[in-house]
Symmetry: D2
Subunit: 356 residues, 4 copies
């Protein structure tokens, strides 16, 4: 089901080459002034076609708000934003040669002949644009609660950025990172990472990477034990983003090599607040926020669309075949993925913040 | 909310030291013969007190099925199983000294004074017992569809087991691993892992680790794009399990270092079936099963209850304090966690299998 | 929350005088050919401005399908339809004088200053247009299962039509009734009913009425006990329709005056099928369909917008005031309501039909 | 699905003749002191066997609270209450002769051979006992918000009680009615109603009736437009109660005969509060509470279990047959139904009150 949320209800729709894509956001508080220009900025951050490391499909990605918005404010009733599909070139897509790493095969098996295969249809990364739109709204609501969300490229192939400081990551750090076109903490890594992407592009190949995302300012006591845990809700959102194949919180997989006395985050009083000396648990204990920064990583696999010849199957004939994927494709989606993940996290965090 | 599932609806309840714990499973197919002895076996696999590497709290964990079960078969109406709490020693628990790495602080902040702090209350790992019970039922339903689930300890601290073969992991492999008391593929690692655990125990410490879980036999076309993705649903279940802090599918975080031509799983025909040469995507494309094995890893942090002196806060006085946690605690929960994760995955997989 | 459904997920959005209104329908089966002309017919049946007994606001109500529809078929992914608002005259609406019988006061109290008050905003009967659109799709899916839904005006003020025969209502009966502009079974009542409406109009007043709806062809065994009962799901849909204030199934409130031997529907074999001699229970036993026609009634209150002077409150000044509501309003919504209810029921019935 | 609620999540389970029945209530506020004796009183009000107008099956209906309750207070985590089945006599039930008006046929068709047919299984009116338990808790929470719920028998066959005054029904009225064993407003009707029931009993027959329920004290602005309307949520709860076949709010079906100027509830200021002169809309405008009393009626059909000979079908042989239903059955369930409806409404009202 394409519905998500406990306090918000998100309903996402659209195909890459159909009439349009969009999202309905139900459960937004009413009376929130939205800065439309800021939302457009966020859309532009995700938009392709900005440089030679993204797809040359240039989409305006202008969002039209159909409902839930009146006199520059949210009305509290469902807000629907739609984005027209323009600049679609469907001829590049073959129906029968299923692209490795894509959902062509599984989409066909689930939906049958009438599956919209063009450009990945509903499985397209393009469907993350409405998520960014919704996240951009969520960010504006969160800022009223002094909650801020920022993401950066932590790794592209073997080039690693610094990590957010899990204790002291600040609003300033987040503002800095979200202003960058190519968001890395250590600017010295920008060119190395871009070189990796261009190298892959020249080799008709693609590269993967890791995005790190930080949330600061969350009040203590949000989330729930078990099925309503902050980790469950954030991960179900993050794994909705195409290409995400792993999610970890705080020390994450490094916990495997730690002892209890290293892993535990000991408490202390800082003025009237309870804090932890370390933050391996990413600001979450027992599924509930403890007031420390919430920090998570998501891995994005290399773009599956590569121009190299690949072995595949022709599903109309059910026989072996080969495919070379041409068209306009990203050699790397990690930098655009950082924007998507940042906004997807903002949405999920708003849902969690709205917990009673 | 402690409710989970699209096709199944799970409702879990209970506290560590309350009257009892349990689960309601709604949406089970009717007319399924359940082998109660097998369910008991599964409960015993998770149960503590079997040896010196687990807590010495010995719980019988006998499940009483109150409803939804008649003439040895599921009726199709909600099945409720309850487990009595016995052998509870509450005196070890102090209300005011919040234990590092536990939910004492966040539970108190969310629920206030009336929070049941004894033994972690509703946050206790003990609440995974009903999950195992439900998973044991799910496994029996899955076996009717020739779907099998098995998990093993992939890592304890720096000792690593082999991985499941992502292409050829078989029903036989799964049966073998689920019969072992200490489930590792390479039996040569058993003693090394146990030694790590005992070493931690002697040091009044604890260790973390990684569990790997494989699902075989899933038909093609189950799951959904975006919010209904197989990864979203499995991860929301896995992150419900206390101590899980990271989840990855297939190549997972290794995707960050791969190129597109390494990462993509190319297709070929094997008889009448479409298969992939590699299985980096863990049998999932676009959130939907492609028929290959579904393989995932979850990291479990070291048990937070350690007898070493730790810095903490007394929340009644709101001042710094220290704590030494005595009582009966696991120096490592990875081997018991493997059973929990295997059964939690079985539950989530049944939910996914029941997709139209 | 503006989300509805177990197997379908409906998400409705829009305000009377905003950019547009619409609905997202998730969970539709894939590969269903949709006859767009039939959908347009259904929209026209609900549309105002056809004659002197409806509002003179003439809306084209053309639906644009943005997603989930490709090559004239459903794709199985979320289908979004939008309708532009045109011909809106907002000057008739005063923000501060809350209209009796409307949601001006409650909307203001729930959403505050930023509530979209123009034309009732999100509370407008106009928001039923997307419901009719979705219902028109549902009907086409239902017809593939030989399930048919039809509604007629059972009562306008004190003029009553015949009832559907609860045992023998046929596909033919339903086709006949749904073709009528003013759907009554006994055509002799049409002029009497219209006269009642015109009389009310002349008196600057409005009238209420009752719609009866029949569903035939539902297979046995759909629905669920308790919270998933056919009655619960149909009524939650029907009470979503503005102006509906009562819902009854089969003998409904007449059951109060019956004895058990009159009320029970006795069973008998008709060929290989189990049938009932009577159908007081409206084809539903224990919340589950028994194969007999499902027949229900919904009462619609008189249109609250009347031109007579009414006592009210000015909520900006919090003092008594009076109001005369001008603008283009229906003196009766029962005939348009019949179309809405028929389609709303079709949607709910499709949700129920898709039960495992 | 046997799960209900937006802010609460209810999960109900159990069969009439199985091990036990119960309910899990998730989402209760924490720290609420519960008076167990009051809950027991409520259970006794519903319990059978009190006099000659109810079934002679005497159930203790003691509820054991397994979780979510500590130190006499709610913990905020899921509260599970179970009731053992005792005093079950299964021999009265025949599997193959489907009882008219019951769910034997539909249950068999939905769940197949393994359906628990004994005493109606999961369809039994007995499953309303956990609903009363949960409602009794809800009432105690509601009273902290000065919200009160009370129901009375409005009609038994042709004997009608007075109605609640829709404007002025008070806390005192509610306390009076909920203390009565046979709750009618006009005590002069008690004997007439009881005589009707006894007459039916002597004739091996049963009678139906109507319950009226009032809610006072609800704050303005609770509920939502469309699918989240107060009417939708209350009706989906009410139609979950076995035997309910019609629900109406305020003037309900009488709206059909009214004109707009009679139907509209005009507003005026009473001190600082906005009130309505009449209350035909039952305190609900546009699906949202307006602060006036919420008054609704539900019709309960005559108990389907009657000792008269009835025509039916033997579903094992698929041939016509006849049945006489012996055993201990209520000749009328309206007086017990009033308690169930009152508590079911309390539950639904608490869910609505917890709306943001």
């Amino acid at each position: 089901m394409n519905t998500w949320g406990n306090n918000l209800k998100l309903s996402i729709f659209g195909e890459s080459h159909g009439g349009g894509i969009g999202i309905v956001i139900d459960g937004l508080p009413s009376g929130i002034s939205l800065d439309i220009e800021k939302i457009s900025d966020e859309m532009r951050r995700r938009a392709p076609g900005k440089d030679n490391i993204s797809t040359s499909r240039r989409e305006e990605d202008n969002v039209e708000i159909l409902s839930g918005f009146f006199d520059e404010k949210t009305t509290g009733t469902p807000l629907c934003g739609i984005i027209r599909n323009t600049n679609t070139i469907s001829k590049h897509y073959e129906k029968d040669l299923i692209r490795p790493g894509h959902a062509d095969f599984t989409g066909f098996m689930k939906y049958g002949e009438s599956h919209d295969y063009r450009g990945g249809g509903h499985f397209s990364g393009r469907i993350t644009a409405p998520l960014v739109f919704a996240g951009a709204i969520a960010k504006q609501v969160l800022s009223l609660y002094n909650v801020y969300v920022g993401a950066h490229i932590y790794r592209i192939n073997d080039v690693a950025d610094e990590k957010f400081n899990p204790i002291s990551v600040s609003k300033n750090d987040i503002e800095l990172i979200t202003k960058k076109d190519f968001p890395v903490i250590d600017d010295g890594k920008t060119e190395q990472m871009k070189a990796k992407i261009l190298e892959a592009k020249e080799n008709l190949n693609s590269v993967g990477g890791i995005v790190e995302c930080a949330v600061i300012g969350m009040p203590v006591g949000k989330g729930a034990p078990f099925f309503g845990s902050v980790e469950s809700r954030l991960s179900s959102m993050l794994f909705s983003v195409p290409a995400v194949k792993g999610v970890q919180f705080g020390a994450g997989f490094d916990f495997a090599g730690m002892f209890g006395d290293e892993a535990n985050d000991e408490f202390y009083m800082e003025g009237k607040d309870v804090k932890t000396f370390t933050n391996n648990n990413a600001g979450i204990n027992g599924g509930i926020t403890n007031g420390m920064p919430i920090i998570m990583q998501a891995v994005l696999k290399p773009t599956p669309s590569i121009a190299q010849k690949q072995r595949t199957v022709d599903i109309s004939k059910m026989e072996n075949a080969s495919i070379e994927i041409h068209g306009r494709h990203d050699p790397c989606i990690v930098h655009r993925g950082a924007v998507v993940i940042e906004n997807a996290v903002a949405l999920a965090i708003l849902d969690i913040l709205l917990d009673r």
